[in-house]
Symmetry: C2
Subunit: 338 residues, 2 copies
């Protein structure tokens, strides 16, 4: 097959690679229906996260099961499935507590920007849709694999409840789907912090009630003004920089909740500051597997349309252009069709 590899900063190649094989009896091979480029793929693409050898890229996937290992019991060839970027057994105590992305057997699933993908721990990782989806549902189903699941977890970690005021820091695809998630969970007011017109528009479509264009402490000052000096009940941090994290913490009210899902890069938090801010802090790699049945159901029933975050669709062999467009912020998120 031909698949996507990163060789170094901004050096994406679509090249010949061996077809994936069943390596363990719990594996499955999935024929990818659609893949995409993740905001977190841009960290190594930009060289901020260094790599030591060529890396197979892509960790968001959905498609039809091609083959399963001898110990796979529930997943069947021919099923349309979606899985998380962390394979999990969905059975260990960590999974039972709902933290499948930290499963005691967790394994990162890489190499999804390709026609075929090996998924470990298939029974614990993959969730089948009720049937073979129509083509128009596929982008939305694909988002459940990571970007929607991650935005959803940001809202869960930020304790979004009916009637709360939520703030979303970050207008990438995760932030935008954080808006959608907060809306689904009943937030009354959803303030999206964004300075990009196309992203503001999508935030409003997904349920944002207000847009704040200021950033950093100016942004915090606007949120304080809008909440009578109190701050927000729930803040979704969807970036992962020092500035965005402090912006999120300072936007929360005393006793409010910050859910952070942007992979932190060089973020340092002062214990004393957190103490006197009185915030709740929770985050980490989203346990997408926990949410997949719910998210698939919402998409399947047409209640949400998270696939709108894809504003660029390319054939898989043009993946390098997909990275460039996101790097230059010409695209929110690139959909890749094998």
């Amino acid at each position: 097959m031909q698949a996507t590899m990163l060789y170094g900063p901004r050096d994406i190649r679509f090249e010949d690679r061996p077809d994936p094989q069943i390596l363990k009896p719990t594996d499955a091979i999935v024929r990818i229906a659609a893949a995409c480029v993740c905001g977190s793929d841009l960290w190594p693409y930009r060289g901020i996260q260094t790599i030591t050898e060529p890396m197979p890229m892509g960790h968001e996937y959905c498609g039809v099961v091609e083959e399963v290992g001898s110990e796979v019991r529930h997943v069947k060839p021919g099923q349309f499935v979606i899985g998380s970027f962390f394979a999990s057994d969905n059975a260990c105590p960590v999974c039972q507590h709902g933290y499948q992305s930290s499963c005691q057997q967790a394994e990162f699933v890489g190499g999804a920007q390709a026609p075929l993908l090996r998924v470990p721990l298939a029974d614990g990782t993959l969730v089948a849709t009720p049937g073979i989806p129509s083509g128009e549902l596929i982008p939305s189903l694909l988002t459940a694999s990571d970007v929607l699941g991650t935005g959803w977890f940001a809202a869960v970690a930020a304790n979004v409840q009916r009637g709360v005021t939520a703030v979303v820091v970050g207008d990438g695809a995760v932030g935008l789907l954080g808006v959608l998630s907060a809306k689904q969970m009943g937030a009354e007011r959803i303030i999206a912090m964004s300075r990009h017109p196309s992203r503001q528009k999508l935030a409003l479509e997904f349920g944002a009630t207000d847009i704040v264009t200021e950033r950093g402490e100016d942004g915090v000052a606007r949120i304080m003004e809008m909440t009578n000096g109190l701050g927000a009940d729930s803040v979704l941090e969807c970036v992962g920089t020092q500035e965005s994290m402090m912006q999120a913490i300072h936007c929360a009210r005393q006793g409010g909740y910050v859910g952070y899902v942007g992979v932190p890069h060089g973020v340092e938090l002062s214990g004393e500051e957190l103490f006197f801010e009185h915030v709740h802090l929770h985050g980490g790699p989203a346990p997408v597997r926990q949410f997949l049945p719910k998210l698939i159901d919402l998409v399947w029933q047409g209640k949400i349309n998270p696939g709108k975050v894809f504003d660029l669709t390319l054939p898989l062999d043009q993946v390098a252009e997909g990275y460039r467009a996101m790097d230059e912020r010409r695209a929110i998120k690139t959909l890749l069709i094998p």
Copy 2:
């Protein structure tokens, strides 16, 4: 009157001071029945927290209302009352969310190691007991003012629920009352981390099921062994140093809760580490006012006896010895009788 002042490191003086007066119409003057020395008083006593001028000491108090300002409606002279170390109006939005220690009008109550104390915002701050307590209840009622309320908040922030495994980091009075609080909230297993025999004994009396004497990463390794490699559901951090905070975070399971109430001194947290630990983090100055009615009731009914943390009782004029005994860890907590 004669009252307690700190002039500099280890320089406690009991000296003539003017009697406190009603300064605002919402103030009350309380005649102190018993006061005490707090673990947090040791930070300035030891010079770790610097002071720029002589400081009236003491912020834990209970006693009989002597006089009230013209706008005080509910608190009456002659009532026996307990208040928090932060005065609060108990009415603003922050208070309504249960964070009275961050009240929009919050004011620190200092100078309680004295026969008389001015308490601001009396109606919002003070809670009266059902009647005048017998002398033997007074130490336990006094703990509700801070050390019990703070241990209780640690358990609330650590999400202690029926059946959980809780770990308590710190065997000072707050940690010990964190054990008592976790027991009240139904924790099934309570592991106290302590290497001092007298404190271990009290921890066991308060409901600890296990004692771990190791500290730091050795302590974490013991907790992991005892929890089948999973970690604890709830961890109460009751110290406030970098080591104790990391010990607490590493003792928690993925998705577990760390409640921290030790005032952090020089604590820095790595965003990336918190992210992959997947813990919930919450803490701050305990909103004692929220818990006072419940805690007074538990003491009044004889269901808890938190006053046992006082293992040294001195007349107020020997307050300097009370500080020395705690500084040298000869006493867990000193009770002072005016």
